[in-house]
């Protein structure tokens, strides 16, 4: 059954996937196993996107299906679901684009990270506050407009100034590249969600 579910998710069958996952749990299935299958399916969706077989439409729906199943699965997983790491994630100041950030969030959560989402148009102070409060391993910033580049740099500076030097900084979104990474002083960049997930794993020292 789990194999079939895996295929349904990868094939974007939203309703059937969710119903099947529900049925699996109702029949006494193991929520931890279910979680793993969903994660693997998300991994494959990400791969297909990188290969050009899938598009943003599939990433968005994949995120919806995953989220839909997790809503009733996560509460059943007792205690420790061993996270790979914690990420504070937001779109930079002056930028209100949230879709790319949300897609990345869905995929990186599926990969086993805990994400603290601090929203869009996020001033540097809010990143600093969240970093202090949550002590993340990684801080992720999304940026889709050119006007967001200097706020991004300022955020990195503010984090350093506040003594947050352990957390790695990863940037993403349509406006970032190697040059921007250097300009902003970040540790890694990705303009697609699957690559971003791989990099986050690498930053945590897990193979990507």
């Amino acid at each position: 059954m789990l194999d079939e579910l895996f295929n349904k998710i990868v094939d974007m069958e939203e309703e059937e996937s969710i119903n099947m996952a529900k049925a699996y749990l109702e029949n006494g299935g193991d929520p931890q196993k279910l979680l793993e299958v969903c994660r693997n399916a998300m991994g494959v969706i990400g791969d297909k996107f990188e290969k050009g077989e899938y598009f943003l439409s599939e990433l968005i729906l994949g995120g919806e299906i995953f989220g839909g199943i997790m809503k009733f699965t996560l509460p059943l997983i007792k205690g420790d679901t061993k996270k790979l790491g914690k990420i504070v994630l937001g779109t930079v100041k002056d930028d209100i684009h949230n879709i790319g950030k949300d897609i990345f969030k869905a995929f990186v959560e599926a990969a086993g990270f805990e994400v603290v989402d601090i929203g869009v148009d996020t001033p540097a102070e809010k990143f600093v506050e969240a970093a202090k409060a949550h002590n993340p391993d990684i801080i992720g910033m999304s940026c889709l407009i050119t006007a967001g580049l200097s706020p991004m740099k300022k955020t990195v500076e503010a984090l350093k100034a506040a003594g947050i030097t352990d957390a790695k900084i990863i940037i993403g979104g349509g406006r970032v590249d190697e040059e921007v990474k250097q300009f902003a002083g970040a540790d890694a960049w990705a303009d697609d969600a699957a690559k971003g997930v791989r990099l986050c794993k690498q930053l945590m020292g897990v193979e990507g």
Partner: protein
């Protein structure tokens, strides 16, 4: 001998038209940068630029004088207001005036689509379209049945606080009319100054992809992408229903004597070829072909990455219009569309903001070596909005490079 402004303007126009008609112009036409840099260059805030017509005109004049690109969007004020044009599409004389919503118009409408500097956002932030979800999934039938009625009577009331009751609405509409007149004077003055400085008046009309109306103004982009899977038949019917209102609105381009209809695409990058070919392209194509029947070329900004859909452009008749690309590989696009479609773009804004003049010149030289032969090419930044801190010497370097290598 220096050329007169009139000669210069004619030369620039001829350059543009040659490229649009797939010929080789005297040199590669250059579409320039605009955006935040314009108020910044004159030391005024975004608030002043958006709310004080006189200051805005001076800032535009100073910018286009010092950075003489062949053409640009420098004189464009306001943000996407197509939904208002659609609502008024039965009244062409009004529909034409509502394609862009300026700061003062936003104040009058008190809408939730936009955020303006000095209002919802800081005085020096650039104006923002934020969109949202203003229609529920179970309302597709209403949209299908009577698109214009549903948009004007239901949606706009939800979007605009000042259109909520008939009385508020009356007052807002009268005020809007007064403001439109002021906006019109602004456009005319910018046109007059541009002509004096040797820039041609290229009247740009408009169009839109019917599905983008639903994504941008009614359901929200992410939501409509999910709708395509959840309620495919409804979305398709609604898109079909919007074709005629969009075409009627697009045809008002004729009223301003436009030979080109400029519009951006938004959902193109999101959709797999399968979804694109089923829900997006057939209806967009209808708009393009109808405009072409009237002698108007579409001038389309293919936002994001359009590579997966490039082949579909070849379904259009040769010379149908201009394809302006953002992130699509411009060399690949030019090769594929050579002799069929005029291609525009090629200059990454990251290079303009972060590179050096020498790097920019070198990049342009290399690029033009590839894309200049055979004509039908317009050089432009992939995204034309330059941030306030863009190094000025980099902007000049673009112009110099095109003079040298174009």
């Amino acid at each position: 001998m220096a050329k007169s402004p009139k000669e210069l303007a004619e030369e620039r126009l001829a350059r543009f038209e040659a490229a649009a008609n797939l010929e080789e112009p005297d040199r590669v036409p250059l579409w320039g940068v605009s955006g935040d840099i314009i108020p910044a260059y004159s030391g005024i805030t975004q608030y002043e630029f958006n709310y004080d017509y006189e200051k805005a005109i001076k800032a535009i004049e100073k910018f286009i004088k010092d950075f003489p690109f062949d053409f640009s969007m420098a004189g464009l004020a306001g943000l996407e207001g197509r939904i208002f044009s659609i609502a008024f599409s039965e009244f062409p004389d009004l529909s034409v005036s509502l394609g862009m919503i300026t700061g003062p118009m936003h104040d009058i409408l008190q809408d939730k689509y936009y955020r303006y500097p000095g209002r919802e956002i800081e005085e020096n932030a650039s104006p923002q379209f934020i969109g949202g979800t203003f229609m529920e999934a179970d309302e597709y039938d209403k949209l299908i049945e009577d698109p214009i009625g549903f948009i004007s009577d239901t949606i706009l009331k939800r979007v605009c606080r000042n259109l909520a009751t008939p009385r508020q609405s009356m007052a807002a509409m009268v005020r809007l009319g007064i403001e439109i007149k002021k906006g019109g004077d602004f456009v005319a003055e910018v046109g007059r100054i541009s002509a004096q400085l040797g820039f041609p008046a290229i009247a740009l009309g408009w169009g839109y992809a019917p599905l983008d109306i639903i994504g941008d103004f009614l359901r929200g982009i992410e939501t409509v992408v999910l709708d395509l899977r959840r309620y495919p038949e409804k979305v398709k019917k609604a898109t079909e229903a919007l074709v005629e209102p969009v075409i009627n609105y697009a045809l008002t381009s004729k009223m301003i004597g436009a030979k080109y209809a400029f519009f951006p695409l938004h959902l193109n990058e999101y959709l797999s070829p399968k979804l694109y070919n089923e829900f997006y392209w057939p209806y967009l194509k209808k708009v393009i072909l109808r405009l072409l029947d009237e002698g108007i070329k579409s001038f389309i900004f293919f936002e994001g990455q359009h590579e997966a859909h490039l082949q579909t452009i070849l379904e259009l008749p040769r010379g149908w219009g201009i394809a302006y690309f953002e992130k699509t590989d411009i060399i690949k696009a030019k090769k594929l569309l050579q002799g069929h479609t005029c291609v525009m773009g090629g200059l990454p804004m990251g290079l303009v903001t972060g590179g050096t003049p020498a790097e920019i010149q070198e990049y342009i030289k290399k690029l033009l070596d590839e894309v200049k032969p055979g004509g039908g090419f317009i050089l432009a930044p992939g995204v034309s909005t330059a941030p306030a801190g863009t190094p000025l010497e980099n902007i000049s370097a673009i112009i110099e490079a095109v003079e040298k290598y174009g």
